[in-house]
Point group: C2
């Protein structure tokens, strides 16, 4: 729902049309999609004179995720199993990158020729216990995923996600970074990287007001003001 | 113009009323106010569960500023001259912090009891040549300014600006940082800190589209989507 045109443009346009007819606003937003790879990128792009390339990288501690989510992200497989699962489409990492990238590219009016997707296992050299699943040495305790949007024959937006049972112990600093390259480059970082669960919940709750206040239609974070919370009790 | 209610609420309301009557949008936005101390803060606040305190700190290289601006910022004075000038209101640093703070507080519906302002000279231990002014040893080659908004008797939003002829040589990393303290803290940094001239110009140009597209009235960055540029030639 963050950018449904990425999946089914006809259906997205239909949702938009019906929402306008009924005078309601429809929007999808969380942490990712919703902030790190899109709203924060679009906000930082205010600094841009031109944009040669955008790279966003996020490192997530996945130790509190459910086993169902962990399996589709690619946890607990041998390298062979992981690659077979990825080829078969059973292991696919995070699914929202095309949505974030197309929300940004759409707002900037940059044509995307294709998306290149890759996912690699991060094989554990020891046991990694998580909240609800334990990974043994020799199994994947994480993954490195990239989705690259190509424009003009060159990488224009690369989204990279490293998910791990214990990122710091595997040598990954828990950090979210945005690098905008161009005439006036901008480099943002959030440290430690945003907590997946707390951040997603906050983004959804904090988005309620901006969605209620927005004009009708199917909107994205490119159309909406920031998802800032209200801190006093609601009035009236 | 970033938040004119901070200076004259009656006049701001009048501009808003006339803008609505005439069907036009009025907004002020640049780098500061406009991004670092307000739009980026509001965007990061999407992550917040509660907000105990906000601190934003910016380090600026002022070497390319004009002598007129440098004098009112407090460059080229002895410590005594600086303190006298500050007391007399002739040296006052950056003027937009109340606007940024009130734009954020207003959106979050946090009542601000008072603003506490302070400015201190950074005295040079050697000569600092700038583009259009040279500061001698013993004179101010920069300043440290804070504006603190007090809510509930405690500091709620502290804006800090360090301006210097050569920040790195004086021991200040050129970095803009946003620290949101609360149940789900968030710590953002931009390195190197945004270039004052390039960033302001970009923010103004990149804001044109969002202002044209916005509903009528006097709006702030709390009401507007991100100031993202259009990268393809305009159509039609």
């Amino acid at each position: 729902m963050a950018f449904p045109w990425a999946v089914d443009p006809g259906l997205a346009d239909r949702i938009d049309r019906i929402a306008r007819q009924r005078g309601v606003t429809v929007a999808g937003s969380g942490l990712n999609p919703g902030l790190i790879f899109d709203a924060l990128v679009l906000t930082a792009l205010g600094l841009a004179w031109d944009v040669r390339e955008i790279r966003v990288r996020r490192v997530v501690n996945c130790s509190r995720f459910s086993p169902t989510v962990l399996r589709r992200l690619g946890f607990g497989f041998t390298e062979t199993e992981f690659r077979q699962g990825a080829a078969a489409g059973a292991i696919y990492g995070h699914i929202g990158f095309p949505q974030s990238i197309r929300a940004v590219a759409g707002r900037l009016e940059v044509p995307i020729e294709r998306l290149e997707k890759a996912i690699e296992p991060l094989i554990a050299d020891r046991e990694y216990p998580m909240d609800r699943m334990t990974v043994s040495a020799g199994q994947s305790a994480g993954f490195r995923q990239t989705v690259t949007a190509v424009s003009g024959g060159k990488p224009w937006f690369t989204a990279e996600l490293i998910g791990h049972a214990a990122p710091e112990q595997a040598g990954f600093e828990r950090e979210d970074t945005i690098d905008i390259e161009g005439d006036a480059p901008a480099h943002l970082s959030i440290r430690p990287g945003c907590d997946a669960q707390l951040g997603s919940a906050a983004m959804i709750v904090n988005s309620m007001r901006r969605v209620v206040e927005a004009p009708p239609g199917l909107l994205t974070v490119a159309d909406l003001p920031p998802a800032s919370p209200t801190l006093t009790p609601p009035k009236g």
